[in-house]
């Protein structure tokens, strides 16, 4: 800790606090995530160890770079990242920042590139949301939040915890307590973020509970059945009154995303699919015509990341 100067707190999570800091020798700005000292008789926090392990393996233009890691005398682990100036969450909440169609294309493209890198290296992120998408000053998106990420060899018998994912970005199979989900679960979160970019508000906002989130999903995408999701009935919660009776039909996404271009809606429809086996992979999504059609994505250096300064009188 003696090598860094803490400047201010940036955020607080369940397990950690994030600070803006500065390297004393170089004056370089950094983000520092301090995991709370572990009181569970487990020594150094396992989430910090796994994040270090994954980030050393995952070196990519759109994945946050780990600069340093160390422990404080009270056994708390600190991970030091390159400093990012803002997040997609801050951009979306700031109504002074315009978000054009080409801007949206660039934002989702960078997220898909990050996802493709993760999935190609067999890493499930499991906590995708706008708060984990950070931006350097040059507009490069950097994915962060690998606390819950894990290696996954894709074998169907691997058990995975249904406790991962933020509620509004949680895929239906995980909400129905599947322990055998895969990379397509991350893709559901990508779809939710894409929808949020177009709507400028979260798309599927359940009310605090997983049941409410499922209800929200089924009201938009329809009740699962043999034709739209053949395997849903084997999921643990399929028989626990999670599926509305009588069945609900899907609504048209064209009616919700009225201002979005058709190719964007086509891509969204191919990602936000109830049946995980029918969702596009990140690699497939990047080859969708949406990205080659006009208009091209805004060059990342031209993305507006903060409010323009007030005009002088």
């Amino acid at each position: 800790m003696e090598n860094y100067r803490i400047m201010k707190q940036l955020g607080q999570g369940v397990w950690s606090r994030t600070y803006m800091g500065q390297q004393k020798d170089t004056d370089q700005l950094v983000a520092m995530k301090k995991f709370k000292a572990n009181s569970c008789d487990e020594g150094v926090d396992f989430k910090a160890l796994r994040e270090i392990k994954l980030l050393s393996y995952l070196q990519h233009e759109h994945i946050i770079r780990l600069v340093d890691s160390f422990a404080t005398p009270d056994m708390a682990v600190v991970l030091v990242y390159e400093y990012a100036h803002t997040s997609l969450d801050q951009i979306l909440r700031n109504r002074d920042i315009p978000l054009s169609s080409p801007d949206i294309k660039q934002h989702i493209r960078m997220l898909l590139l990050a996802m493709d890198a993760c999935h190609e290296k067999q890493i499930l992120h499991r906590e995708l949301n706008p708060e984990n998408m950070f931006y350097l000053e040059d507009g490069t998106m950097k994915l962060r939040g690998f606390d819950l990420a894990r290696m996954h060899d894709g074998k169907p018998n691997t058990l995975l915890s249904p406790q991962a994912f933020a509620l509004w970005y949680k895929p239906p199979e995980v909400l129905m307590r599947s322990q055998h989900y895969s990379f397509s679960a991350d893709m559901w979160s990508v779809g939710c973020i894409f929808a949020e970019l177009m709507l400028r508000r979260p798309f599927l906002m359940g009310q605090f509970t997983e049941l409410s989130q499922l209800d929200k999903i089924f009201k938009v995408f329809g009740t699962p059945n043999e034709s739209n999701w053949p395997d849903y009935a084997i999921l643990p919660l399929a028989w626990h009154s999670t599926v509305p009776v009588p069945p609900v039909a899907a609504v048209s996404l064209d009616g919700i995303f009225t201002a979005a271009p058709n190719d964007a809606i086509s891509l969204l429809k191919s990602i936000l699919v109830l049946d995980p086996s029918n969702r596009l992979t990140a690699s497939q999504a990047l080859r969708h015509p949406y990205f080659s059609n006009e208009p091209p994505p805004t060059p990342k250096g031209n993305l507006i990341l903060s409010s323009p300064p007030p005009e002088a009188n």
Binding site: Y57, D263, H288
Partner: protein, 349 residues
Amino acid sequence: MMVASDSFSSTVSMEETIGDNAHHEAAVDRILAMRKIEASYCLQSFLHQQQSLPLSDAWRGKVTQWAFNVVDHFGFSREVVTASMGLFDQYLAIRGNLCTGSLVLLTSLTTLHLAIKLHETKRIKSSILADLSRGQFGTKHIDEMELEILAALGWKLHVPTPLAFVAEFLHFLPEEDVSAAERKEIYELSKYFTELAICESSFVQRQNSLIALATIYNAMDAIRFERLTEQAKQTFLCTITKATLGQAYESPTFKATRDRLNTMYAKVSATESFDPSTYGMTSGYWGLGGGAGGNPVAVTPNGSPSSTASSCYGHQHHYTKQTTKATKFWYTPSPPPNTRSVGVKTALL
């Protein structure tokens, strides 16, 4: 331009059916990333070259044996032992392998704890590990040692294991020539070879990717294929090595690795028992305080690891008491797969 999602999906499906190139490219990318990390872990020295130092092959052998017993007992993956020993070897190499029996014990407890946290979904409390030391260490010692090891290693924790490389290399097996059963058989036998490799310190300075390749070569020699011709086998091996390892498979180190693994395997397979003294284990216990002797006890590696694990815990006092009382087992890599004996013999000739 409007694009229907259905038409795009069918285009994607067609692309996916063209071949396995995308999968192979992804596997190559992963292997190269693992190789890059592997190259950043370089052990400058190791114990088998420095027999005069306190940490001997025998001690390391006992640490490995103990770690296998613990992971079997708790139902963890045996790959955890490989990861743990990787951290163990690195840390002690950084210290110049200058250590006491007490330090070896504390290091092994701590690296096992780290490896479990890194590789397993289940976790284990520091207090349980402290109990395994029979009161020699408390949780505070283990937790402090954890920080000491992490700092010494510069928090570099991701040493790709030989088995991780094996899994990636096997993506290159031609699906049309190798049945699912044969593929599984190669994997299991390679896995067994990787467990043999972790038991002997002569493998420590060798790259895990090279060990992985050697295990696959040996496994393929030991298995008779129904459809994979000799030519196809050579093509497979050349493809993965050229794509990811350069010409390493032609090096004397590679040949020596293969030969040593085959020798170890032959002893286990041919006699169905294992003489630990062959692998530098001169004592059957955790006689860390000194080189306590004792009559080596041969064991059958086919024995159930879980059944032997409990006997391990019955002998935890051997950490400190240096007793010469016989234990039921010495060394327990997982049982070798039921290899077709003709194939094995052919390989060993």
